[in-house]
C-alpha cells in the first residue's frame, strides 16, 4: 500500500461501480481508492472498460449503480466544484484547429477565471514556448498531447485523470510527458489516474497498478507485489530449429509453457532460472535439438497479463 494511504483520506473513492451498454458490461463492479500524491495506472487492452471507468469518474458518464466520491463529494450536487478539483485529458480530443496554442490555453483559462500569467506558466511547463503562436492543426501528435495536458493542468488540479495520454506517441514524446507528470507529483503532490496499454508507462510512473479486463479488476497493487504474488517469477524464452522434442513442462521447475508465435519461441514460466536452465539445456542436448535463440528474464507485467487473460496488453 502507498505510505500515505494510512494517514489520509482518499481523494477518490469508488464503490461497486457498474455500467452497461446494451448487453456489454463495460464496468462490472469496480472498487477503487486514490490517495493524495498517488499515481495509479489502469491497465487493460482495448475494450477493457478503462475509458468508461474514467469518464464516470470525470462526471461525463453516469454509472448504472455504485458511488463515486471525489474529496467526499458526488457529481450530482457538486458539479461546478468538482470540475475545479479535476484536471482531465480525454482520449483523442481535437481542439479548435485555427486557434493558436496560446489562444487555446487563454480560452480554457477563462473558464477558470485565470489570466495570461497562468497561461505562460503552463506553456513553460509543457515546453511549448516555441509553438505558442502555432495553430493547433500544425502541432505534432506529441505536441497536441502536451497541449491537452497543459489544459488539464490549468486549474492547479489536485487530481489528474489522463485517458491514454501517450497512445501513438514516439518514445521521446512519451518520455517528455512522463517527466512533466513526475515533476507534478514531487512539486505539487498531484494525484493521477492514468489509463494506458503500455506496461512500461505503468511501471515507470505509477505507485499502484490496476489490471482490468471485461470491466472487472483482475489484479491490483504495487508492481512488485503483483509480480511477487505470482508464484512464477522468471521466464526462459527459447527458440528451436526443429520441433520440440518433449513437453517442456516435464522439465523440473517449468510451471507453464506457451508458444509465442510472434517471436517464434517457447515461453517457459519457471521458479528459478538458475535451477531450471541447466536441466533444460541438458535434455535438449540429449535429444540433439539445436537452439536458435535463448533469452532469460524476469516476469513482466505483460507476462502477468497474458497469464491472467491469455491476451497481450496492447493487443
Amino acid at each position: 500500500m502507498n505510505p500515505v494511504a494510512n494517514q489520509t483520506e482518499p481523494v477518490i473513492r469508488i464503490e461497486s461501480l457498474y455500467k452497461s451498454f446494451k448487453d456489454v458490461k463495460a464496468v462490472n463492479g469496480i472498487n477503487l481508492k486514490l490517495f493524495p500524491g498517488e499515481f495509479i495506472a489502469v491497465l487493460g487492452p482495448n475494450g477493457a472498460g478503462k475509458t468508461t471507468l474514467v469518464e464516470m469518474i470525470e462526471g461525463i458518464q453516469k454509472p448504472d449503480s455504485g458511488e463515486i466520491f471525489i474529496k467526499g463529494k458526488q457529481w450530482k450536487n457538486h458539479h461546478a466544484e468538482l470540475n475545479r478539483v479535476l484536471g482531465i485529458s480525454l482520449q483523442e480530443t481535437w481542439f479548435i484547429e485555427k486557434l493558436t496554442v496560446k489562444e487555446t490555453l487563454i480560452l480554457f483559462a477563462s473558464f477558470y477565471k485565470l489570466g495570461e500569467a497562468r497561461v505562460k506558466e503552463i506553456i513553460a511547463l509543457i515546453r511549448l514556448e516555441e509553438k505558442e503562436k502555432a495553430y493547433v492543426k500544425n502541432l505534432s501528435g506529441g505536441q497536441r498531447q502536451r497541449l491537452a495536458l497543459g489544459i488539464a493542468l490549468l486549474n492547479y488540479p489536485e487530481v489528474l485523470i489522463l485517458d491514454e495520454p501517450t497512445t501513438g506517441l514516439d518514445p521521446n514524446a512519451r518520455r517528455e510527458l512522463w517527466e512533466i507528470l513526475l515533476k507534478l507529483k514531487t512539486e505539487r503532490n498531484t494525484s493521477l489516474i492514468l489509463t494506458t496499454h503500455y506496461m512500461e508507462e505503468a511501471e515507470y510512473l505509477c505507485d499502484r497498478i490496476i489490471i482490468i479486463d471485461h470491466g472487472k479488476i483482475l489484479a491490483k497493487g504495487k508492481l512488485n507485489d503483483l509480480l511477487q504474488a505470482c508464484d512464477k517469477h522468471e521466464i526462459i524464452e527459447i527458440g528451436l530449429l526443429g520441433p520440440p522434442p518433449f513437453d517442456f513442462t516435464t522439465v523440473p521447475g517449468v510451471q507453464k509453457s506457451r508458444f509465442n508465435s510472434k517471436d517464434n519461441a517457447f515461453v517457459l514460466e519457471v521458479k528459478r532460472i538458475v535451477e531450471t536452465l541447466p536441466l533444460l539445456l541438458k535434455k535438449l542436448e540429449e535429444s540433439k535439438t539445436e537452439i536458435a535463440e535463448l533469452q532469460c528474464r524476469t516476469l513482466t507485467l505483460d507476462d502477468l497479463f497474458i497469464s491472467m487473460t491469455g491476451r497481450h496488453l496492447n493487443a
Partner: protein
Amino acid sequence: MKNSLLILTISHLKEFIREPGSMFWSFGFPILMSIGLGLAFSGKKEIMHGVGLIPSSNNQEILVRNTFFGGGVPKDTLIEKRFDNENGLTRYAFHITSWENAEVLMKRGIISSILTEEGGKMVYHYDPLNPEGELIQIQLSNFFKYGHLGQDTGSIRPLKTQGMRYIDFLIPGLLTLGIMMSIMWGVCYSLIEKRSKKLLRRMVATPMRKTDFMTAYWASRLVLTVFDSVVLLVFAYFFFGVVIQGSIAALALIFLAGNIAFFGLAILISSHTANTQVGNGMISLITTPMMVLSGIFFSYQSFPPWAISVIKVLPLTKFTDEVRAIVNEGAGIIDVLDGVAILGVFGAVTFFIGLKIYKWF
C-alpha cells in the same frame, strides 16, 4: 482578460475568419450572385427572340417573303431582323431551316416558336405554356398586319422606379438567404463537428457556463451576419442603386429576429447529430427547400394556392417578405412587428427545445 463570454466570442470569430473557404461563401458568394443575376435580369438592353422559319415545299411563303425580304426568296441561312420599339430594341433571329432541324433548335432553347405558312396565312407552332411563344405570335401578327410590333392604341411608359426592378426583388432575398446559410452552416455544422471531435465534452468538463458558450456562438454569428449584410447592401447601393426605402430600425429589428429564428433552428438541428456526414444531410434537408420555395430568386406566387399557404409559414419566407417590405415598400417598425414576433418566438422555442435535449457528450 478573463471574461470567458468575450473570449469565447472572439475565439469563434477567429475560428471562422481564419478559414478562407467560409469567408468566400459568406462574403464573396452573395455578391457574385447579385452581380450574376442582377445583370442577367436587369442589365439587358435588347430582347432577342429566336424563330424557326420553314419554307413550304411549293415556295408559297409570300407573306414572309414580302414582309421581310422584299419579295426575294429566303435562303437557307440565319437572318436577323431588328425592330425599333420605344420599349427598347427587340431583335428577331429567323432560322430558315427544315422542320426536323427546327425541332432540334427548339429543344436546345435557341428558338421558342416555329413559323410555317399555309395558304397565305402564318401558322405559329409553340408551347402554349411558354409566354415567349405567345408574345412572338402577338408581335409578329401585329407586324404582318400593321408593320410594327406593338398595337398603336395606347402608349407605354417604361417603369424604372427603384423597388420595382428584379434586382430590388433579388437583393433582400440574397440577404436573408445569406443569413440563413451563414447560421445553419456556421453554427449548426460547427457544433456537430465539435461534438464529433469530442471538443464539446472537453469544454463542458470545465466550469464553463453552457449559456456563455451558446451566447458566444450567437453573438459571433450576429457580428458576422451584420458584416455580411452591410457589405451586400452597400454593394447593391453602389452597383445597382438599390436603396432601403423603409425604416432602418425596422430592418435592424427584423434582422435580429431572423438571426434568432435561424440560431434556434441551428441549435435544435445540432442537438443530437453525432457526426458531420449526417449533419451535412440534415442541414441541406432544412435549407434547400426553403431556398427554392421561399421566393428568394423568383416569387412564390406562381405555386398553387395550397402550396403558398405552406410556403408562407416557412421562417425564410416570413423573413424575406418582411425585409422586402422594408427595402422596397418603405415599411416601418409597426408593419413588421408581427413578423418580428413570429420569427422571435420560433427562434426562442426551437432554441430552448434544442438546449433541453442537447447532447453535450
